[in-house]
């Protein structure tokens, strides 16, 4: 537990990916396989769920520390994390322990599940008596089931791949599904079990550059192909060795969440890799990204919930072909790959795997007006791809001419009034950085502000600090960490899309809201109205 706690703290302290990777590798190399197995499970999200509730922990902490509840609340507000707050409030342990992680899991975490309240309390109090503040923090995270380490699964995958001496994709494939923590499974993870996993390997994605300046500066329009830029999940669909896999750009396997795409891909020829966008489609247009997100979050095997999928159909809008007949096509030019792609898609039945249409225009101006209509089609703009470009790796190096550009339409913007704030979490726990915004509803006798968005990014550090001070001085009411403030400050908010929502008072939810500017030049009365948002919504949904 001590080594794992040190790993947690060290990972937490650094933001450098290289350092995190080195820490993970050092941990795994020095760990007993039984401990390493648990670390893999915990770090990749296969953790025990809900062994103890937050309230139970809090009640027990009240009892042990004999502090008043309100004071624990104040501490929570200052720390921003209840697991940590309680860890810091408890008295120092009477004795210490050097027990290995797997012992902690077996003796102090797993037995909590399904145990009677009294038993739970005894187990937790016993743990508090031997763990120091850092160990208690990690322990709380383990038993509350909200364990997150600030490392992505792919980094853990890469560390394990380095130790095992295999490619990242191979290790990712070995880690697919729930990893059952045992020493034997850890050994199997490192040594592999036959090498059919080569089949699952994805290619690195080629990335586009944002278009800055005029599109016409790119030269002759005939050299460029234009496609709609969809707001979905970038994905690679792979058919090899009789097996189909679907990788997201985050190097996550997402096959389980999109069974209809996997089913349709069975028709592909052996040795085919397509690059495209996963979208949920209804009638003639894609659904907003939020709909996809709920799909992505599903972890349950799809066979049990097939009916859920009947409402919406997932499709893969294919726009590139990376491998055909088992041959790597990435070195061929776009025009050639596109021709082959069209042939491949034409050979398929059904519309689940479909071709990304080319957007034709005679002039850059014409293309520009089509680009402006992207929103009405459920797209975010256009992609421009040079017909003579090869499929590169990642983003083009500075200095080289990018093969792909993304030409996004400007985000939606409104001027909104700051109505409330609360401290951020984690590193921003001591500053008010989570803001709530409202716009005017002038339909009643007296205009009132209705809240419609929260945003916590987009300001410079000095602005954050200035606003933090302002908020503290202009609070009108407090409820826990949440402060209502005088409705004075106006901010220009940008967002990518919007949809109807019953959760928000305004009836509208916006996507990716962020602060574009602090409008110190505007008074609250000059901010936008809810009617502005409804007009945008009508335009958005067409």
């Amino acid at each position: 537990m001590r080594r794992f706690t040190r790993l947690f703290m060290d990972l937490d302290a650094t933001t450098a990916t290289g350092d995190k990777l080195a820490l993970l590798e050092a941990y795994f190399r020095g760990a007993d396989p039984a401990d390493a197995a648990w670390a893999v499970a915990l770090l990749t999200g296969n953790r025990p769920k809900g062994a103890a509730s937050t309230n139970a922990l809090r009640d027990l902490a009240l009892e042990v520390t004999s502090l008043p509840g309100w004071l624990i609340g104040e501490c929570h507000a200052a720390v921003g994390d209840l697991s940590e707050t309680i860890a810091l409030l408890l008295p120092e342990p009477e004795r210490t322990t050097d027990e290995p992680l797997h012992r902690t899991m077996e003796a102090r975490v797993l037995p909590l599940m399904g145990a009677k309240e009294d038993t739970k309390r005894a187990i937790i109090r016993d743990a508090w008596a031997v763990f120091d503040a850092d160990e208690r923090l990690v322990y709380h995270k383990l038993i509350r089931g909200g364990f997150r380490l600030g490392v992505q699964k792919r980094l853990v995958t890469r560390a394990l791949a380095n130790i095992a001496g295999v490619e990242h994709d191979v290790m990712a494939h070995r880690l697919v599904g729930a990893f059952v923590p045992s020493a034997a499974n850890y050994e199997r993870l490192l040594n592999g079990e036959g090498d059919d996993d080569q089949h699952a390997r994805a290619y690195p994605f080629f990335l586009a550059h944002p278009l800055e300046g005029e599109a016409s500066a790119l030269g002759g329009l005939s050299d460029w192909a234009a496609e709609w830029k969809w707001d979905g999940i970038r994905a690679q669909l792979i058919k090899r060795g009789g097996e189909v896999t679907l990788w997201s750009r985050g190097e996550e396997l997402i096959a389980h969440q999109f069974p209809e795409i996997i089913a349709a891909a069975q028709q592909l020829y052996e040795g085919t890799v397509l690059d495209g966008e996963v979208l949920l489609w209804r009638d003639d247009r894609p659904l907003p990204f939020a709909a996809l997100q709920s799909r992505l979050n599903r972890k349950v095997a799809p066979t049990h919930q097939m009916s859920l999928f009947d409402e919406t159909r997932a499709v893969l809008v294919a726009y590139d072909l990376l491998e055909s007949d088992g041959e790597d096509w990435r070195g061929r030019v776009f025009a050639d790959r596109r021709r082959r792609l069209e042939a491949v898609i034409r050979s398929l039945d059904g519309e689940t795997i479909r071709l990304s249409p080319l957007v034709d225009a005679g002039t850059w101006d014409e293309l520009g007006s089509l680009q402006e209509s992207a929103r009405e089609r459920g797209a975010e703009g256009l992609m421009l791809k040079h017909r003579g470009s090869v499929y590169g790796v990642g983003r083009t190096k500075p200095g080289d001419t990018p093969g792909w550009f993304k030409w996004k339409v400007d985000p939606y913007t409104v001027d909104a009034v700051l109505t409330a704030a609360q401290p951020g979490s984690g590193r921003r726990a001591s500053l008010y950085t989570d803001y709530t915004f409202g716009v005017w509803d002038r339909s009643g006798e007296k205009p009132k502000l209705v809240t419609f968005a929260k945003a916590y990014s987009g300001l410079e550090q000095d602005e954050i600090e200035r606003l933090d001070r302002w908020i503290r001085k202009h609070t009108t009411s407090k409820s826990g960490p949440f402060r209502q403030v005088e409705t004075v400050q106006v901010f220009e908010l940008g967002f990518e899309g919007l949809q109807e929502s019953r959760r928000h008072k305004s009836g509208i939810a916006v996507r990716f809201p962020r602060i574009l500017r602090w409008r110190t030049d505007k008074t609250a009365a000059e901010a936008d109205t809810i009617e502005t948002l409804h007009a945008l919504l009508r335009a958005h949904t067409g």
Partner: protein, 345 residues
């Protein structure tokens, strides 16, 4: 009945004595608890403070400073009061102010900033019995409890050693007056050379003159960069973090930075500072230190200022049955930063 000390536009005012304590605007007569910039301001007519405080002020402020410099515990007549200064353990020369009115009314003690732990770089804190205690509350939440400083220094020295072994220069971010010298006193100089930022040099000299034993240091300038790269340790105020000046000292294995402050007790603060390590070491009293001081002072009334005032005052009232009140400070932000309340550059 009027209180002996009241808060005014210019700071804490004692009418019977005709003086302010740690005024925040120039006044004719100022009693100063310690030399940090938010407590000791230039431009007052005449000061009363300890020898250490005045020496530090003279090294930091331009112009003449007219001052009375009583010894710790020495009773001085000011107006219709008797005033004495008692060690606060915060930084060199830091003092609590005891005020006894001639009219036989309650005796007040104003703690200024203080800590109760041992610190070889300044005079040890003493509890001063009184009727009304005015305490700071920078770390007035029960989440703040300090480890034994000896253990913290063991960690700092161990971290420095392992950095040096990897050819990484060690950087400690500390406030230049007080914390820097306390850290210096705890460093194991056999680990490697120690360099300090220019802002740390001045106060360090004053400490030495006052007889505080500190290891040899060099000015961390271009000339000494080659000695410090790798095995060296550099003490600098946080403002120099991330500057080109600091990058000059990058060792073959890189550079590792730690923040040394009581705020480092909370993970979010460590991450907020974006440092590699946080060492929890404070020159303020922790929760237990605050409560213990209140109890041992025997005060019936307790004013709370500078930090988590509302929280500590409520706890004293509701859980300890004391008559407590909040003394507003110049800084309206609660949970303020040590960079504000610690008064550094």
């Amino acid at each position: 009945m009027n209180d002996l000390v009241v808060q005014t536009e210019c700071g804490l005012w004692c009418e019977a004595g005709g003086f302010y304590v740690d005024p925040w605007r120039p006044v004719p007569r100022a009693v100063v608890t310690h030399a940090h910039a938010d407590h000791a301001i230039p431009g007052c007519g005449r000061y009363l403070a300890t020898a250490g405080t005045i020496a530090l002020m003279r090294s930091r402020m331009p112009g003449e400073i007219e001052a009375d410099i009583p010894a710790f515990g020495e009773r001085v007549r000011l107006g219709r009061t008797t005033v004495s200064l008692h060690p606060a353990g915060h930084v060199l020369g830091s003092a609590q102010v005891r005020i006894e009115p001639d009219d036989g009314g309650p005796v007040w003690v104003i703690t200024g900033d203080y800590k109760v732990e041992p610190d070889p770089s300044c005079e040890a804190f003493e509890v001063v019995p009184c009727d009304v205690l005015l305490t700071e509350s920078t770390f007035g939440l029960p989440i703040y409890r300090w480890e034994d400083p000896a253990k913290v220094f063991e960690d700092i020295n161990g971290w420095w050693r392992s950095n040096a072994a990897e050819g990484r220069t060690t950087v400690l971010l500390t406030y230049s007056l007080g914390k820097a010298q306390r850290v210096l006193a705890g460093l194991d100089a056999s680990n490697g050379p120690i360099g300090v930022h220019g802002a740390v040099l001045g106060p360090t000299g004053v400490y030495r003159d006052a007889g505080i034993k500190l290891p040899e240091v060099m000015h961390a300038d271009a000339q000494h960069a080659k000695d410090l790269k790798g095995p060296g340790l550099i003490l600098t105020p946080p403002s120099a973090s991330g500057t080109a000046w600091l990058r000059k000292f990058k060792g073959p294995g890189g550079i590792r930075t730690a923040f040394v402050s009581g705020w480092m007790r909370v993970r979010g603060r460590r991450r907020w500072q974006s440092v590699d390590r946080g060492f929890t070491l404070s020159d303020h009293a922790d929760w237990d230190g605050l409560l213990d001081t209140v109890r041992r002072s025997g005060a019936r009334r307790v004013g709370v200022t500078h930090g988590s005032s509302e929280t500590l005052a409520r706890y004293l009232r509701e859980s300890m049955g004391l008559d407590s009140f909040v003394v507003p400070t110049r800084f309206t932000g609660e949970g303020g930063d040590e960079t504000e309340t610690g008064g550094e550059d």
